[in-house]
Symmetry: C2
Subunit: 318 residues, 2 copies
């Protein structure tokens, strides 16, 4: 029986595929390559236990075929861009909410009952409790992205109750590391490549955010799925600290050997719906015995190193 | 400028339309008559200030036309049946979540920025805190219906942040009163009409639920919209008490002058996903000066009286 990974050519998806294959798992990977990169699957494609299917998750009939022979699903395919929701308000609904519904229906059609889902700390909106635990007060959404992920979580939980599924829902902070293809480290590197003397920073640079290294993230996902026994298992994933965007700029500059002049766009948020302080309480996953191996700073430096060693990634995402 | 009411021929929608017209408002009503009843609009249709549009909310272009000239929207159109979600898992997604997205897009296309939404206490799932306040712990969904309404709430809040809308989200207990067309009073009356000596009760009859009379519900909606000033205003609507299904059976029997033998299907829930105890904390709406005029018992008796005086309603919903 195979494990199905949607979004298998993406940042987290391709790292997960490599991990599963290294563990001897059979893997069916699905991607529409809208943002996924075939080069992220170079290693996987050499493994006879990996089967890649090019297809769109919005095509339910194709999805049902795809899931044949699966025993569990990692649903990672998504529109992962929180910042531009207002420019195309249907994208999050389709790529995240309706897509998740399709995944659940394709599971049901194939008798698959176990699903892991990449949700986000954005579902907490501007949380009144920081660090924010999984059972924080009922949140008010502040982005179309967060709303679409919240909707997906709700669908998954309802399928668990209605159809006897078991689910593992992970609310991530921003993830960093090899194959990272968007976010502030990416944006800053791109700017500094063009002009190392200046850096435009959205907001005032004092936004406080938490980050997690992708391999630590996958460790946590696998531990939770091996250990947690509830019908709906929800875990925050992040590190026990946060940094200011300004700290991150310092570390990136140091790694590149540049000291750009900083130009702030101003205000306490980078964009409409930007959350100026994201910091999750991760006591629940830590209680299972997990701790992240890399600090935020180490994760940022690893990401910089990866992007510098793989300039094609930045070109591919022009 | 007109007020737009989606689901205008439904139970709550048609009562709201009558209220708005009595207050001298211009009203544009939309319904696809899948469950709405044209006879509920008999009075409204005599009023030149009422314009009825037959149309489906899933047809976005038609919806945009419909909303022309509107200044605010009461979005009440929905699949309101929590019980049969598992029989057609896409219905709640389409009729509730995608429908709400369409309403928000049609508002945006017409420059309308004020929306009231009929949500549900079902979004709390099986709440760990009872009576359940609006800021209860982050809920886990237990029904496709609840999940679809939660998703709608999230979309509405995200539109408020992204596009400068103002919203009023009402989490209802079950509503009772004139033009009531589904739920336990309806089901029991129908059974007793066919055979007044027996009544089949889902579960053990000890489920505890709260109910609110439709005119009290409309009073609360109007007060909240006249008073609350936040961008996203969320209110529980219900009474300060709850009853057991068995209590309700006693009152219905008394009103009909029958004492049926009760046949319980057993278990503490009526169906998969049934919540055995729904009781909302309504301190927030009461703080604005609202109190319900009818008790649960009075609401149930009014509902029985209405259904007996209007047998066509029960026939129309065979």
């Amino acid at each position: 029986m195979a494990v199905v990974v949607t979004g298998c050519a993406g940042f987290i998806g391709s790292n997960l595929v490599d991990r599963l294959l290294a563990q001897g798992q059979e893997v069916i990977g699905l991607d529409n390559f809208s943002t996924g990169q075939i080069r992220f699957l170079e290693g996987a494609l050499k493994d006879p236990k990996f089967r890649l299917i090019r297809g769109d998750i919005l095509d339910l009939e194709r999805l049902k075929d795809c899931f044949r022979g699966g025993e569990s699903v990692f649903h990672l395919a998504a529109n992962a861009d929180v910042r531009f929701g207002g420019d195309h308000p249907r994208k999050d609904l389709e790529q995240n909410t309706i897509a998740t519904h399709n995944v659940l229906e394709a599971m049901r059609a194939n008798g698959i009952k176990r699903v892991a889902f990449s949700s986000t700390g954005s579902v907490y909106g501007e949380a009144p409790v920081i660090p924010t635990p999984e059972n924080a007060p009922f949140p008010v959404q502040t982005s179309l992205y967060g709303a679409s992920k919240l909707a997906s979580e709700g669908l998954i939980a309802a399928y668990c109750e209605t159809f006897g599924f078991q689910s593992f829902i992970f609310r991530f902070v921003s993830i960093l590391g090899e194959r990272y293809t968007h976010g502030h480290v990416f944006d800053f590197l791109k700017q500094l490549e063009q002009d190392p003397t200046r850096l435009r920073v959205l907001g005032n640079g004092k936004q406080r955010k938490s980050y997690l290294y992708v391999q630590d993230c996958i460790d946590a996902i696998q531990l939770a799925m091996a250990t947690a026994k509830d019908t709906v298992n929800i875990f925050n994933l992040g590190v026990d600290s946060y940094v200011e965007v300004n700290d991150s700029i310092g570390w990136i500059g140091e790694a590149l050997g540049v000291t750009p002049q900083l130009e702030y766009t101003g205000g306490d948020r980078g964009w409409v719906g930007d959350n100026p302080f994201i910091f999750l309480d991760t006591a629940k996953i830590q209680a299972l015995g997990w701790t992240p191996k890399l600090t935020i700073r180490e994760g940022i430096v690893k990401t910089v190193d990866f992007l510098r060693a793989n300039p094609w990634v930045m070109e591919a995402r022009e």
